[in-house]
Every structure is written in C-alpha cells, then in structure tokens.
Symmetry: C2
Subunit: 346 residues, 2 copies
C-alpha cells in the first residue's frame, strides 16, 4: 500500500542511501551515485509511485518548510472584514515563491496555546494581534523558532521583530480632520472584547494623545455593549460629543445602524470614523470615513523578514539587528464626517 524508500531501493537493487541521495536533491557532495544507478532509481521510484514522506524528512532534517500564522482574537473570517484576507495575501505572496507552506492552527488560534509554536511543525511563526498574558510571553521567550509579530507597537514584545501601523499618526490625521471640520468633543467607541486587546489600548491612547496635542478635550471612552441605546445619549442632539471614532469598520457599521434606530443623524448629528477602510465603507449609508492601513504590505514585509530570520538561524549566520517597522496610515474621507451642526454645539 504505502511505498517507502526501502521498496524503491529494493526494486532498484541499491541501498536506501542511494535512493535518498538521488531523490532528495539535497546536493550531498560527499556521496555520489553513478548516472546509470541514478536513472535506475528514478525509474523504480516512478513505477512504484514513490512519494517521499514529508514528515519523516522534516523530523530528520529539522526543517519543515511550513510556517504558522496565528490570529489571536479570531472570530471567523469573512468577506465583510478585509483584514484577514489582506494578511493572507501578504503572507502568501512572500511565502509561496520561496516554497514555504502556510498553516492556520486552531489550537493556537482558538485555545491560545502559544507553546504549540515550538512543537516542531513550523520553521517560524507570524503572530497577528497578540495578547501579552504571562503565559504567552513565556512561550514566546522560549520559542524554538523565530517569531515575528504584527500590530504590536515597538517595544511591547521582548526582543521580537514587530510590524505595526502607525496608530499615533493615524489618530493625528483623524483628529486633524475632525478639528478642521469644527469638532471639539470626540469619543472613542470600542466593543467589550477589543477593549481588552493590546490594539484597543494602543488606538485609544493614540487618539487621546492626538486630541491633547491638538488642544482638544480628552476623548471619552465608550464601550459599546449589546445595548446600543447609549448612543442616543452620547451622540444624540444635545449630547456632548459631535464625533465618534470607532475601533473598527465593523463596529462603525453597527454604530451607523443603531444611529438610524435611535434617530441620530450621521453626519448631521454626529460624525463617525471607522478603521480599516474596508470595501464596504463605500456602500454604507452614509459612506464611511475610515483610516486605512497597508495590511498586505505589512504582512508581506513581516513574512519576508521571518523567512530571513529562519535562514539565518538555519545557516548559523549572525542575527540581523532587531527590526521594528512602523507603517503610515491614510485617512479615506467619505460622507460620514461633516461639520457639527451649530444648533447643538456645546
């Protein structure tokens, strides 16, 4: 049933070594096989439909040509959220030409078992949106393979290369835009899950810093639970806030819907800003102003860097200097932001 190297060796009347040398293409220079023997081996392999076992080879060579991509806070992927697909696009475009495979591992993603990084299956790990609980940090520090992270600001991860959007710059653009429209009191809106994430904290701080720098009041934090009725209170006519900066486009979308429900007009009563500039920002009503980050470029760069780290480790080359890249964001101004209406400016 299952054809092994031994079967091929036997069929060709040679040793397994000869088969290995001929078929693995490892370019082993210490051993050579005569052309006719090589040919005989190749023929036998083909006839028997021999397929080298990747597992056995990896176990022996300690090289799997497989990397893991970990999305923490993974709640499913879908066309409505462009994030995951942009990451995958960047990753595969860097990985595939080099012959590496990519795997999504549920026990890391769902169970958060960071130790699986070092279970021998992967030559490296790209970790997106990590949390830094003690356990994870420990697993990372002791990882037996190179790790690269995305969406982590410089310095948060111990000795780990990071590729991150410039959230500070992004929020400065948002604030500048809102300020130029005449807004003064803005709020940061986030969901209960993301508020606990590193990314949530970063963006919140970034908005706060940008507002202060612009001489505006500290933005209030609105954690939006199931019940969106608070929106009426925060964003309705007479409310203090004239602009809501949302953690994500998805959340912003929910906000837009709830605004309709509670008869809050966007952008007349309140301006709304999203994050990610998803394709659907064009189709919301009104079209959603949103921050764009070059996710695919970041993912591509992160992956390329990961591959170079793997190669360095493999060849015993000196480690390249620590890399922490920051990527500029853009602000796609659409129709959900406008000057605050005067009749209720406070």
């Amino acid at each position: 049933m299952k054809v092994t190297m031994r079967d091929v060796a036997q069929a060709a009347g040679v040793s397994t070594m000869a088969v290995s040398v001929v078929l693995s293409g490892s370019g082993n220079k210490r051993v050579s096989v005569s052309p006719e023997t090589a040919e005989r081996i190749r023929r036998a392999a083909q006839e028997l439909r021999y397929r080298p076992n990747h597992l056995a080879r990896s176990l022996k060579t300690q090289k799997t040509h497989q990397i893991a991509v970990v999305f923490q806070h993974f709640c499913g992927i879908g066309p409505e959220n462009p994030y995951h697909i942009q990451v995958l696009q960047g990753v595969t475009s860097a990985l595939f030409p080099k012959g590496y495979a990519m795997t999504l591992c549920p026990r890391m993603i769902l169970d958060g078992d960071a130790n699986l990084m070092s279970d021998g299956r992967f030559d490296g790990v790209l970790w997106c949106r990590p949390e830094f609980d003690a356990e994870s940090l420990d697993a990372i520090k002791c990882a037996s393979v190179p790790v690269v992270m995305m969406h982590v600001p410089n310095g948060m991860a111990p000795n780990i290369p990071t590729f991150c959007a410039d959230n500070d710059g992004a929020m400065r653009q948002v604030v500048a835009h809102l300020k130029s429209l005449g807004h003064r009191r803005i709020a940061f809106v986030i969901d209960p899950i993301s508020v606990k994430s590193v990314e949530g904290a970063i963006r919140r701080e970034a908005l706060k810093a940008a507002a202060e720098k612009a001489g505006m009041p500290t933005p209030e934090l609105i954690v939006l639970e199931q019940d969106h009725s608070v929106l009426a209170q925060y964003a309705g006519p007479g409310a203090l806030h004239t602009a809501l900066v949302c953690f994500s486009d998805e959340l912003a979308c929910h906000v837009l819907k709830s605004c309709v429900r509670y008869e809050v007009r966007v952008p007349d009563d309140v301006s709304v800003v999203g994050f990610d500039s998803s394709p659907f920002c064009e189709t919301t009503k009104p079209r959603l102003t949103s921050v764009s980050q070059p996710v695919d470029r970041m993912a591509n760069a992160a992956t390329t860097h990961l591959l170079s780290l793997i190669e360095e480790a493999e060849k015993g080359l000196p480690r390249s200097p620590m890399t922490c890249c920051l990527y500029d964001c853009g602000l796609d101004v659409r129709d959900s932001t406008a000057p605050p209406s005067t009749h209720r400016r406070v």
Copy 2:
C-alpha cells in the same frame, strides 16, 4: 536546548513509555501509571518546558490533524475577490472546532504537483477548482488520503465526492432574467485563462443549454484578450448582442471599464452580468447584476464531509455512499441589466 521525552523521563526517573502514556492522553488502556508517578512526570515536563514533537508523533501515529486546501488557478487572493476568503471561512468553521489545522501548500497550488497530497503531511485534501490533466487524475486516483472537490460537476471526478454550484440552474436564471427584459442575442465573455478551465467550460455549456431551452440563439463565445476593443464591435450600437454574461465579477468589471472607454453605455447599449456577486458589485457604475453562489456553505459542507471520510478511513468503518452535492445559486439583479434599447435591436 531541545527537550525530548527522554529528558522528561530521566528527570522523573521513569521510562519514556510512562511519559508518553501520561502526556499524550491517548487513553491507552493496556498500560496504567500510578497517580503519583503521573504527577511527577507532569511536574518534570512543566519544569523542563517539554513540548511534544508533533512531527514525531504524526510519523508514528500516521495521523497529522492537518488537511490541505488546494486552489488551482491561484493568482493571489485579495479583498476584491470574495471567493477565496469565503472558502477559507467555510473550511475553518468546519475544521477548527474539530482541532484540525489547515495548510496552503504552494507546491500543490503553484506547481500543480498533485502527488504532494500523499506526502504524509495531510489527513485529507480539499481541492478547489481542479484541472483534470492526466497527471493530476492519476495522482488523485492513487492518493493515500481522502480527497473532496469543489466546483466540479457530478461525475467528472473518478469516485471523488464533489460539492458544486448548480451552474445550469444559475444560467437558467440569468437567461430568464434577460429574456424577460427583452433580450434575445447574448454572448458569454471569458478570459483566456479561465476558458481552458473546467469551470469555464461548465458555465459556457450551462449558458448555452439555458439559452436553447429558452428558445434563444446559441450564445456566442467571446474570449477577451488584453485588447478589449472587440467589445466595441460586439457590444456597441448596432452590434448583434444586447447582453454579455461574464465568467466572473472581476472580468465583468474590466468589461464595464472598457465599455466606458469605447463609449458603449451599460445598460443602455448592452446589459452585463457577472458571477459571484462580490461586494464590489454594489460599487461599480452601474451596480453589477451578478450570480451568487453559497461558497462558504459549500466549503463548510465539503470540509465536514472530508472529516467524516478521514474518520471512516481511520476507524476502518464502511465508506459512506458517494456524495455529490449541488448548490442552488441566486441572481442578484442590480443596475447593469435593463431592456435593450429599441433603436438598435436586431
């Protein structure tokens, strides 16, 4: 550096067997370990940061808990095309709860080396958009693991379960829609790559059959090369065709752009229909009428079926009967289809 089972065994003063039994959780009933020994082993493992090697385990148990997803005709993934992400969504939602990992393997995807299916790394393979050259067919027939295919009509694959959209039904809807608008002469537009694919042939045939059944002339085939100027000829005022049914949304998009360029008005001069009903159909000008297929549901069902096949093979259960599922499509009517203008109806 690398902690193996032997290290743990040594530290706990037991044999590797004991460690294996305690830590693998394989529920080996023939062997039992005393509670205190077990505890000692667990402690030693934790202290040494022991991580079982997945490769070695898989090699021994012949079970990897990993399946491969193959996209043939893979030209990169991106947010503009919802297809890949919908597949991944369906796959992961079926796979992850069962603890299986998913890998994208470039040598299968790009190099088309179907033999890699059987390289020991995967418990099963989900193959999307396959081509049926002799080599692939051969590799499939001899695969050592279960294979399930998507987008293959019933019967094309030898003894392989398939999950496919009902292209015939879809094209019947398209034709009915166009006919009700008053169209008679329609054309099928496709790119030079897809025209060679199985899927391309299927849809073309489906449209042809639907047109004939509706008493309309056989649709002409337009293979759209780089130069779209043929559109002016085929779709411009005075041309025979009043409607273009495109292989994909992406292609339809190019068609829309070229129509602008060659001063062909859509839908006044010609109606255009896409395939996939991508989110961007809402944002094209005019909004694109398109066929929708439940890709994520198909992928989920295909994956679930694959898992059951794997389990059957594993436990030596009788193989369940061959499954070939057909999925209903919908037609999302938007603004790119309208009655043909009378002044140039032939």
